[in-house]
């Protein structure tokens, strides 16, 4: 699946998007999997209360299942307007 990052999440991880081969069942599982990879992921995902997630470009939550999802996006709370 495609995983995309925005704002400081993108900066901390060091890339805007990547293809991840995963069997993670939920967003939480994907975060655990990525965090175990390298310190930069662990740092970005350390405090999930400071993060938001979108599944196929719709806001979602960390318990949401990833079945059938093509794109997961992680970013800080939005600051539009």
């Amino acid at each position: 699946m495609n995983v995309v990052y925005f704002a400081w999440v993108r900066e901390r991880i060091g890339l805007p998007e990547e293809t991840v081969d995963t069997d993670a069942a939920t967003v939480k599982d994907l975060i655990a999997e990525l965090s175990a990879r390298e310190d930069r992921y662990a740092a970005a995902f350390a405090d999930t209360t400071a993060l938001r997630v979108a599944l196929d470009q719709e806001l979602s939550d960390f318990d949401a299942p990833l079945d059938g999802v093509r794109e997961v996006a992680f970013f800080p709370p939005m600051t539009g307007g």
């Binding site: 995309v4 925005f6 704002a7 400081w8 979108a54 470009q57 719709e58 806001l59 996006a73 970013f75 800080p76 709370p77 939005m78 600051t79 539009g80 307007g81």
Partner: protein, 146 residues
């Protein structure tokens, strides 16, 4: 209904005139323009990042809800991304309705939702460096009144 997400500057006055023109069934047109604010006098640039695709669909969803709830005749949302200088317009909303209460309320609703539910992120660049603007709890709380 029109939603535009663009890096180019826009002329808020010209946009409003064009939005308000040739409407006969409408008694009220309200607009809001957001401007890059230099709070401490040291802002060089504001960088706005967004999520292409989700940005447009999220704004369209918010605008649709406003049209339904306040029976708007029309709505316009323009939001910029990329590097912006202090004093430049960042975004605008305009609403057209039969009466002013609906037009004002819908514009207020749109602004509250665009702040916290449209995928934009602001970064301020000063001589001291660059820092992401943190979302405010008050902005999230503002959604509760709707």
């Amino acid at each position: 209904m029109a939603v535009r997400v663009q890096s180019d500057p826009f002329d808020a006055g010209a946009e409003l005139n064009s939005f308000a023109r040739d409407r006969t069934g409408v008694g009220a047109v309200v607009s809001f323009t957001g401007v890059v604010r230099d709070t401490k006098g040291d802002l060089q640039e504001m960088l706005i990042e967004h999520y292409p695709g989700m940005t447009e669909s999220a704004i369209a969803k918010i605008a649709d809800e406003a049209v339904q709830r306040w029976a708007l005749a029309d709505v316009l949302v323009i939001h910029r991304y990329g590097p912006l200088k202090p004093g430049e317009p960042i975004m605008m909303v305009a609403t057209a309705a039969a009466h002013r209460a609906a037009a004002f309320e819908a514009a207020d609703f749109l602004m509250d939702y665009l702040k916290s539910r449209a995928p934009f992120w602001k970064k301020e660049v000063t001589a001291q460096g660059a820092a992401w603007v943190a979302a405010k709890d008050a902005d999230e709380d503002a959604l509760k009144r709707w």
